[in-house]
């Protein structure tokens, strides 16, 4: 379990999150959605221990405030939105950075496996900076995968915390990355992903939390949460939710006309 209890985050005078409760279970993909500035990324960063906050974050039964960096790293991998790289590392070297140096053969094999999983095996010895933005993001995902794949002693589920994992990817690789997330969850791991694309969320998430202005607006399965009213209220524009017939997956269409509140703000 990954639980956040009464998380409040304030930067100087602005309150970003107001007493947010959030729970994610292993075996599932849990998505956090919401408009820009609603606090999605801040909630994720509070749960990774990167943002000082009030309230508790409990990872696999242990308060993360009491955990050392290496204990956290053994139980969760984090994919940030933007990662900069100093020095000309190659792609395979970047993937290896997250790993501990065991026998080098094991580390190399694990890193190559992770690169192949994101279809970048053929770029292993290219310079990271030569890759396109989307390829760099997939290389970073490979680094995080290698980290959570690396064998550890305790059997607790390990977590992937992904901040907009498909942000700069084409549609094919969006599906590939979400497939990776889902199969990781199906194999017993936990996945928490901050998402922008509501339709990908509907396709891949088992649970969805909608944030709006620093509070939780709705929590539940995609079918429960992704409704006309909730989404229109959260995003401040009129959205229409339909269902794909056979599996009953919701999909979201923007309404052509702007909502009245937004029109007022614009004028």
């Amino acid at each position: 379990m990954l639980e956040a209890r009464h998380i409040t985050v304030a930067f100087s005078k602005k309150t970003i999150l107001k007493s947010v409760d959030f729970t994610a279970k292993p075996g599932r993909v849990t998505a956090i959605v919401g408009p820009n500035g609603s606090g999605k990324t801040t909630l994720l960063r509070a749960m990774t221990g990167d943002v000082s906050h009030r309230g508790d974050v409990v990872l696999n039964g242990q308060d993360i405030a009491t955990m050392q960096a290496w204990e956290l790293a053994a139980q969760r991998g984090v994919l940030s939105q933007a990662t900069t790289l100093a020095f000309p590392f190659t792609v395979i070297e970047v993937v290896r950075i997250g790993l501990h140096s065991g026998t080098s053969g094991d580390v190399d094999r694990l890193a190559m496996q992770a690169l192949n999983r994101v279809s970048l095996g053929h770029y292993a010895n290219r310079f990271y900076q030569e890759l396109s933005g989307g390829e760099q993001q997939r290389a970073q995902l490979a680094r995080v995968l290698a980290q959570v794949w690396e064998p550890v002693l305790n059997g607790a589920p390990r977590w992937l915390l992904l901040d907009e994992p498909v942000a700069s990817l084409d549609i094919g690789h969006q599906l590939e990355v979400m497939d990776i997330a889902r199969s990781y969850a199906r194999s017993g791991g936990g996945v928490v992903a901050v998402m922008h694309d509501l339709n990908l969320t509907a396709l891949y998430a088992d649970a969805v939390t909608i944030l709006s202005e620093g509070t939780v607006q709705a929590q539940g399965t995609p079918a429960e949460v992704l409704t006309d009213e909730t989404l229109s209220a959260a995003y401040g524009c009129r959205l229409q939710v339909n269902k794909i017939p056979s599996p009953g997956v919701p999909f979201v269409l923007p309404h052509a006309a702007r909502s009245q509140t937004e029109a007022k703000v614009a004028s």
Partner: protein, 354 residues
Amino acid sequence: MLAVSDISPPVDRSQTARAAHLWLALLLFSVSVACLAVGASGTSLWGAIGKLVTGKALTQMERVVLWDIRAPRLIVGICVGASLAVSGAVMQGLFRNPLADPGLVGVSAGAGLGAIIAIVLGSFMPVWLLTMTGNYLVPFAAFLGGWGSTLILYRMATRGGRTSVATMLLAGIALGALAGAVSGVLVYMADDSQLRDLTFWGLGSLAGATWTKAFVATPIILFALLAAFTLGRGLNGLALGEATAHHIGIRVQRMKNTAILIVAAATGAAVSVSGGIGFIGIVVPHLLRLWTGPDHRALLINSALLGPSLLLIADVISRVIIAPAELPIGIVTAVLGAPVFLWILLRRRGMVDL
């Protein structure tokens, strides 16, 4: 954005980096032997080295030159070269910028100021204090100066437990200028013999190497080097940013504190025995990154091997080029290092585009 298109895709460099340990150790050994043999003392000592190897007795003169002059110089040279190169590599990893260097953030300048204060104002000190400190006065003052400037720098650049690299670099420039200005004032107060010492501090030289200095500097530098070798994984993580370093299990703030202490100790000790020698700290890690890649686990060890080799080569050149006089080694490293540095800048402009 990045001018890397002219770089051909390398093969996996981790093997090369490990093989480099051996090659660089061999290079250091050969250069060390040459360094003992070659010099300005009338004759070259290859014969004496041959006698050492075969176990024959040395002449009195050979023993004095080899044991009292060249051996301490060799040991100080190895220590200083290793500290300069490893300090440079650690600083660059810490600042995530291949141009960072202890010389750049005022650590060397602070150490130099400490030394100059001790040289110029030392004569005003109470006699009991002078007799107590003896030969250790100047090295100790340099060490304190380097350490002090690092601590001031750190206080200025750190807020809420996090270090801003930009503030640290800018504060380092200001500190360097301040140390330079104070040193300039002190130079006017110096007498002739002190002025000669000050020139030595400004340009750097291994000529003053004695067993005393070797015994003062070697333990500090060895300890700093061993501590630096534990930073490899942490500095690799830091290359991906502080947040990602934390995500892969690095205690970032503690690692940065350790790195700063290591740099202060190694640079302070190096400057105390040799003055300010430039370019080793920038050129050595650069060359190694081009050859074996930026993985700090290999880079730090290889820097500790290549740094001394380059410094000793520069030292041999400085001894023979205008023999029987000798050039300050800082001039030689600048003449050799500055063009290499500019060439790297031209070829790999993308690398410093951070």
